[in-house]
């Protein structure tokens, strides 16, 4: 698409992960696909080895977050530190004017907008981008639906036209899961499941794997659904309660960044999204805190809280 517009285009695959994986972006098979697609399009293809940076900026924080009972954001960190920092700096060094990625999002007048295909919208994981970066970023497929992207790929005869969508955390295998991955890197501790009043209700095999808001795997019968309200890794305790007890009217947001660089002044109405494909929730932003219009399930500590003005990402941070 960019070449058709007259841009001089070079393809890059970032090799980020040397370990076992199902499929993501840097298994040998995936790099071969990228190379063949570049060959078919008649453009050069380079592979950059950023495995050290990926380990430091994505994998290590992922592990540390679990060890602290917080929710990690590996995709957001990868975009923040690898694609739109390390790779962007490399591209600039090499004399390229812009970095294009396949994210489903749009950029319009310096604003970061949701992708045209709502079901595939990836603006949530891009909220750390800022206006100066957006000037040098392009999301060519953001204006298309995924099926249109596949149709165009098939029309060009690209061998990836019917390749399955990428899923989940790229460095975690489906067969081993989080437990095996984390278990090889940090000690996992059995934890006690207690009620709000401290009375014991059961046990979990690994307190590090429990997330606030989680319902499965915490024991309890069908008649009284239990949700994790708090995870205390040092204390080895998961506090559970009802959906009512999980709900909250607001959340403090930490480590906030704004696309435009500065926080909006005063109290503003906006919508808030708490997961990659979550529903936008009407809310107000007031001095580092999101106040929901209606009570919501409490976001887990560390979970990304992304603020939107309509379709535009305004900024975001992590739940405190």
């Amino acid at each position: 698409m960019l070449a058709d517009e007259g841009h001089e285009v070079v393809a890059v695959t970032m090799k980020l992960w040397g370990g076992v994986q199902d499929s993501g972006c840097c298994s040998v098979g995936d790099v071969e696909d990228a190379r063949r697609v570049a060959q078919q399009l008649g453009i050069a293809h380079h592979v950059f080895n950023f495995t050290d940076e990926f380990e430091g900026h994505v994998v290590a924080p992922y592990v540390a977050a679990h060890a602290a009972g917080r929710t990690p954001n590996p995709c957001i960190d990868c975009n923040r530190y690898l694609k739109f920092d390390r790779l962007m700096a490399r591209a600039e060094q090499l004399g390229f004017d812009a970095l294009a990625t396949g994210h489903h999002a749009r950029i319009c007048n310096g604003r970061l907008l949701r992708g045209a295909d709502r079901a595939k919208d990836q603006s949530y994981v891009l909220y750390r981008l800022t206006t100066p970066q957006l000037r040098r970023v392009m999301f060519p497929v953001g204006a298309l639906t995924k099926s249109e992207v596949r149709r165009r790929a098939a029309a060009l005869g690209l061998r990836t036209a019917a390749k399955p969508d990428s899923q989940e955390t790229c460095f975690i295998t489906a067969s081993g899961g989080r437990e095996q991955f984390l278990g090889a890197r940090i000690p996992l501790h059995p934890g006690r499941v207690v009620a709000v009043d401290g009375s014991p209700l059961g046990a979990v095999p690994a307190v590090e794997l429990v997330t606030v808001g989680q319902r499965r795997g915490l024991g309890g019968g069908a008649q009284s659904r239990r949700y994790a309200l708090a995870v205390d890794v040092p204390g080895g305790t998961v506090t559970v309660g009802t959906l009512d007890e999980l709900s909250c009217t607001g959340v403090a947001v930490e480590d906030v960044t704004w696309v435009a660089g500065a926080a909006p002044s005063g109290e503003v109405s906006l919508s808030v999204q708490l997961s990659a494909h979550g529903r936008p929730l009407p809310a107000r932003w007031c001095n580092g805190t999101v106040e929901f219009e209606r009570p919501q399930r409490r976001p887990a500590p560390g979970q990304a809280v992304v603020l939107y003005d309509g379709d535009a990402v305004v900024g975001g941070g992590t739940a405190g």
Binding site: K15, V28, R35, F48, R90, L94, G95
Partner: protein
């Protein structure tokens, strides 16, 4: 090579006229290769390249030792090509350290070699930094510590530049690969001196005296012999000319930019390799800029995905971290001209300057 790919495509193992023709071509090539490697024709085993030759040497000697119930320990240096290193590791062998110049530590080698050792593999010249090993000294250590063990050398990188009749004389097995001296890709040879027991990797029709089954790559073998004869013909003059150009290239790059260190500068090495570390740059970025300007360089070995991997050779020589990531390997050939050297100096200087500029300076 061409006749053997077109009209005269007989299988040398056959018995009819076309087959006999092909057989004769392979036999004549074998005579040429043997003479230039300093061995008997019957000691040459044609392979699909250097990797197969290395694998056959390591696994073949260890396998033969095990078959006769003898200990089968294998030892190699830490700077070997992966074809040797991974073969030795697969046999559970030992890896011996090198010094800062990339030369194998003979004391550590003596400690690693013992009565159970079946094979020691030490390359004649390193493919990344060009360091030459003292194979006579290595052979002396083996003779003292384990007289029954054999010495294999991966001479793939050295063949174009050194007379193997002399330099490989202390060894029992020698690997070569045709594409490193102007021959075609996908063909090589392993010299297996008389008396060395070898278990084949490939079993089948019993070609190569049962040491390597499989129909001969006739065109490749003929091409390899011709290429080997050609490099032997003008070797001394070529070595002197290429070394002079290499030294001028290094001096030019260093004069144009600060912070350029030449790897293995003080040790005996190949004439055609300039290995540099360019402070404040990253190999991956440097290679892209050089490639844009038509300068084909490398930095180390690439993994299956094509990404650059940290060099095990530099790591073994004590070069690590950002310094190892700043490696630039420039190889010269016999056809490299003074103009090529001048252009490379200019292009490298420009690329280094660009990469050292702070991010944001190019906007």
């Amino acid at each position: 090579m061409e006749p053997w790919l077109t009209g005269r495509y007989g299988n040398p193992s056959g018995s009819h006229a076309i087959a006999r023709e092909a057989r004769q071509a392979v036999d004549e090539a074998r005579d040429v290769v043997a003479a230039l490697l300093g061995c008997d024709p019957g000691e040459v085993v044609f392979t699909s390249g250097g990797t197969e030759a290395d694998n056959l040497a390591v696994s073949g000697v260890a396998g033969a030792a095990r078959r006769r119930g003898a200990p089968a320990d294998v030892v190699c240096s830490a700077v070997e090509h992966h074809a040797v290193l991974h073969s030795v590791e697969a046999q559970g062998g030992r890896v011996v350290p090198v010094d800062a110049g990339g030369r194998v530590d003979l004391g550590a080698l003596a400690d690693a070699v013992g009565p159970g050792t079946a094979l020691v593999s030490v390359m004649l010249a390193n493919n990344e930094v060009g360091t030459l090993q003292d194979l006579a000294a290595v052979a002396a250590v083996i003779a003292e510590r384990s007289p029954g063990a054999v010495l294999h050398t991966d001479a793939v990188q050295a063949t174009a530049w050194l007379d193997l009749v002399v330099h490989a004389a202390p060894t029992h097995l020698v690997s070569i690969a045709a594409h490193k001296f102007g021959g075609p890709q996908g063909v090589g040879a392993l010299v297996v001196r008389r008396g060395v027991a070898l278990e084949p990797l490939l079993r089948g029709g019993g070609q190569e005296r049962d040491r390597r089954s499989g129909t001969h790559n006739v065109a490749g073998i003929v091409g390899m012999a011709a290429a080997l004869a050609a490099v032997a013909d003008d070797r001394d003059a070529a070595v002197a000319a290429v070394a002079a150009r290499r030294d001028r290239l290094v001096a030019g790059v260093r004069a144009a930019s600060d912070g350029v260190t030449e790897t293995a500068a003080g040790v005996p090495r190949l004439p055609n390799i300039a290995h540099l570390r360019v402070a404040g740059t990253e190999s991956e970025a440097l290679l892209v800029l050089l490639d844009d300007e038509g300068v084909c360089a490398s930095a180390g070995s690439a993994c299956a995905s094509g990404a650059l991997e940290p060099s095990h050779v530099l790591s073994a020589m004590g070069v690590a971290g950002d310094e190892a990531r700043s490696a630039l390997r420039l190889s010269l050939g016999r056809t490299t001209t003074d103009e090529d050297v001048d252009r490379a100096i200019t292009v490298i200087a420009g690329a280094v300057q660009r990469l050292r500029a702070p991010v944001g300076a190019h906007r």
